[in-house]
Homo-oligomer: 158 residues x 2
């Protein structure tokens, strides 16, 4: 089973694909989609093309995104929401089932503590996936954490 | 010149197409796209299909949307932003130039007063377009007001 975690954004979208075989988790591919500061509709169309290509390449059986919380910067929150709309549309057109997690739910599944610090989450994700070092930047680590969270929750018997 | 105004939403999207010939404005088509309460990604994919069909039917030379303001209901604001992201992506893929207006800018262009009441805007839109009565519901009237605003501003010599 292949699970894709996506950390939404307009300027930077983190993604991480995790393969689950039995109880073993491996990172298949992870990285960052970045968009230049072009006009908003063209930028969103670029997000769509890039995410569609990602879905066609990874062919995930399930997709997880993080629930958007209201940031202090409202303008940023609205732009991230516009991009997330385009991402979810692409996910539906690809046909993969979608799960949304609150940040606390990811921490709870990965670390066992809903109030865990980001570093603890990154440490556990790196360890569970058997990676030599923590993926950078945070957008990528967050996307992998989402994929690990969904992988752990969808494990047979979990 | 054909101008399409779109009043974004997740549950209801108002649209209005206005034709400008010289200084004469006529309403070509207006109405509401509505989506049922299905899962969010599928709902956004439906928005994309419906808006793409609308763009292919109307073939606008320009598209206007209203700038999203932060509503009291944050959840609603975020859902509207997700839908707007999908709408703008479809507009870019259609290739029409896009303009965004703040609510006050529409009032100023249509009524001559940035603080005008909604009823005054609707009265002027109905009159400028030579319609027998004010289009209902408000989402449709708002979309026509956006199209009229862009038509007035893009008039030669305006």
């Amino acid at each position: 089973m292949r699970i894709l975690g996506i950390d939404p954004g307009l300027e930077r979208i983190g993604y991480g694909a995790v393969r689950r075989e039995g109880s073993r988790l491996t990172a298949e591919e992870y990285g960052l989609i970045q968009t230049p500061r072009i006009e908003l509709p063209e930028r969103l169309a670029l997000v769509r093309r890039e995410v569609t290509q990602l879905l066609e390449r990874v062919r995930p059986d399930a997709v997880a995104t993080e629930q958007l919380l209201f940031s202090v910067n409202r303008k940023t929150a609205m732009d991230v929401a516009k991009s997330l709309g385009v991402i979810l549309c692409a996910v539906a057109e690809h046909g993969a089932p979608w799960t949304e997690f609150a940040p606390g739910a990811v921490k709870l599944s990965v670390v066992g503590n809903g109030g865990a610090e980001k570093k603890q989450v990154q440490f556990m994700v790196t360890r569970l996936l058997g990676l030599a070092e923590t993926p950078k930047p945070d957008d990528v680590a967050d996307a992998l954490a989402l994929a690990v969270c969904l992988a752990l929750r969808s494990r047979p018997g979990a």
